[in-house]
Amino acid sequence: MSYVAFADRDHEHEHHDPDTFITKYIWSQDHKVIAIQYGLTAIFVGLIALGLSAMMRLQLGFPDDFSFINPENYYQFITMHGMIMVIYLLTALFLGGFGNYLIPLMCGSRDMVFPYMNMLSYWMYLVSVIILIASFFVEGGSTGAGWTLYPPQAIMQGTPGVDMGVLLMLLSLAVFIVAFTMGGLNYVTTVLQARCKGMTLMRMPLSVWGIFIATILGLLAFPALLVSAIMMIFDKTLMTSFFMPAVSSMGVDPGYSGGSPILFQHLFWFFGHPEVYIVALPAFGIVSDLLSTHARKNIFGYRMMVWAIIAIGGLSFIVWAHHMYVSGMNPYFGFFFATTTLIIAVPTAIKVYNWVLTLWEGNIHLRVPMLFSIGFIFTFIHGGLTGLFLGNVTIDLPLSDTYFVVAHFHMVMGVSPVLVVFGAIYHWWPKITGRMYNETLGKWHFWMTFLGTYAIYLPMHYLGFAGVPRRYFAMGNTDFLPDSAQDLNAAITVSALFVAATQILFFVNMIWSLKFGPKSDPNPWDATTLEWQTPDHPPKHGNWGHELPEVHRWAYDYSVPGYEDDFIPQNVPSDKAPAGRGHGGEH
């Protein structure tokens, strides 16, 4: 481990091919640059989606005060908020962003195996984002069909954005899927083929495992969305009747006959449920590594963690219809899917126990990434437990159309992965930029976000029990709801705006750090994984200088008895005690 070479590093020095600004930062084939491009684009659209949710909350909290939000807008906000957050932010950020950055560095490779295809993947993603944003500005605006885009209403008169809006949405999804497939084949092949010597599968950090399995899920599940998007485009433009039943639209027969909206729902959720785990598995993996590193303790039950990831990935393909209990399915069918849904809770619970047991008697350092990781355990347990309720048909039926569901899925796949995203950014920021951020500001960011999101979503469960329906623009005459429901809604809105505003702390901190942050140590957390052992800091093009690393141990040699340091990097040979470096781990 060299501690001299990084100090006077300058941005101009790259001893590899890309030497102009354009080849280095724009048409770059370097996985690290592509990762940052993916990340920035995803965060940018994510901010748009955050803005949309603020508008929705304004309407819900103070129904009569904002004349510029009408029912059509409101549905467009819901739709675009959901679609952007799930696909264009979380999927792209975890796999395109962290996947791109971490896979080659953690596996000890110089780059992805197909750098050119990797670059194409990002640019296709950017095209899909541009198409998506363009749909805001076409005649009629973006689609307001809900993020699930259920036919027949998605493409029938009366739904906002029924002409260009929905077509651009479907087109954007198709382009996104092509982009993802190019990236995904790259990630899978890189993990399988380009690991450095000694990096067996069972020595890979769990981050890589999570991203790897999530990518496989994506590759197999996204085709379902592609098929349904194409068929819906045909229904809309060529008047086929794949999904469109015989309907009358505003007194006119549009010419459809006999199609099945349920068929769309099956296809959509065959993608939609694995999608949950496409977002969750990378988060599981990353959080495992963060917990282990900042608790200075090996991850509890590594092999079990790997197999839990694989089991969750497999099971996620046979639970999809639990999103469709209210579609009027055969009770035996519902029983089957309720059972599989409850079974998937087993490997998930194993993971949660192992995280908690990793903390047990650890040397816990409550740095910013650790705070976010522990916060994730809380929000994930809450969201997961309500999932057990909703997984049962009898409980789901009355709750399905209420805010209980909104609270559940925001807790489990909104807040939880986003907390991991923040934790991961705070964790790897020194590696990516070579600079530190302000810890205090980061801790403020965590506490305000964490407590703020509880203030938003905990009351939503009560609203759901009380019967407040979701998807409604305004409540109207609802005698069964007490007036206090509206007060609670107003309180939620205030919390939501507060949390949204809090994110400014994050951006201020990071932008400040880029310019004025103190230079960081190459391995500020005393972590074992390979990305912290690069000869250059931050790593340069090619990652490893002249010689590739060689791996001799797993990624979790923390506090090994008999060693002076409390960590042993993966590339330290098995017969050598690490050279004494004083006390590791204290910062």
Binding site: G198, P223, D557
Partner: protein, 213 residues
């Protein structure tokens, strides 16, 4: 396929004790950017898995939609038999070319590639003519769900064939210009052959599905 994957994963992970540090034998891994033909083969297998998922979902949508009342079975154009023959020939010739390439018989390269191209293009053109025949007889995409599926499935398949032809064209141009070494051409031909066989298999299943319903 899934069973193989699972078995392989089991082999990798059972009876391992990752927490014990030790040297790993040289056979465990090549370095990054190692054997690139193997890398491309794995990527191709990944792509085939994606395409399999894509078509399997279309086929299951087909069988679900078929059950509904407004479905009128379609009579497929007889031309499809000729097209099927073309695609089988293309696959056979590609295999012949591949076998030659593996044995280092350069004289098979160009005629083999060109002949494959002719048959494959013949298939795509034939599909287009079949579409025309249907259109002329008043069988439009919106006439009936069976028609809609016919156009969708054959179109999707033909697009995949065209994608293969793009790779084929790159290899063929390099052979014609003589700009690539034998090793590269051989790898190209090997991978293309797998893709061609795969698309033939998809077509046979698709055609069988169309005929039987």
């Amino acid at each position: 396929m899934l069973a193989t994957l699972l078995g392989w994963l089991l082999k990798q992970s059972f009876n391992t004790t990752p927490w014990i540090a030790e040297q790993v034998s040289d056979t465990a891994h090549h370095g990054p950017m190692g054997d690139s033909s193997n890398t491309k083969l794995i990527a191709l297998m990944g792509l085939l898995a994606v395409v399999t998922s894509f078509f399997a979902l279309i086929f299951s949508a087909y069988s679900l939609r078929m059950e509904l009342g407004d479905w009128v079975p379609m009579t497929e154009p007889q031309l499809l038999w000729v097209n099927t023959g073309m695609l089988i020939l293309a696959s056979l010739v590609f295999q012949w070319t591949r076998n030659g390439a593996v044995k280092g018989q350069r004289n098979r390269q160009l005629p083999g590639l060109l002949l494959t191209g002719v048959f494959t293009l013949g298939f795509v053109l034939g599909q287009y003519v079949a579409w025309q025949q249907l259109q002329n007889s008043g069988q439009f995409i919106s006439s009936n769900p069976a028609n809609a599926f016919f156009y969708f499935m054959t179109g999707a398949h033909a697009l995949h064939v065209l994608g293969g032809l793009y790779v084929w064209a790159r290899a063929t141009i390099r052979v014609v210009l003589g700009t690539a070494d034998d090793e590269k051409i051989r790898r190209s031909i090997e991978l293309c052959t797998i893709y061609w066989h795969f698309l033939l298999l998809v077509w046979l299943i698709l055609f069988g599905l169309l005929l039987s319903t």
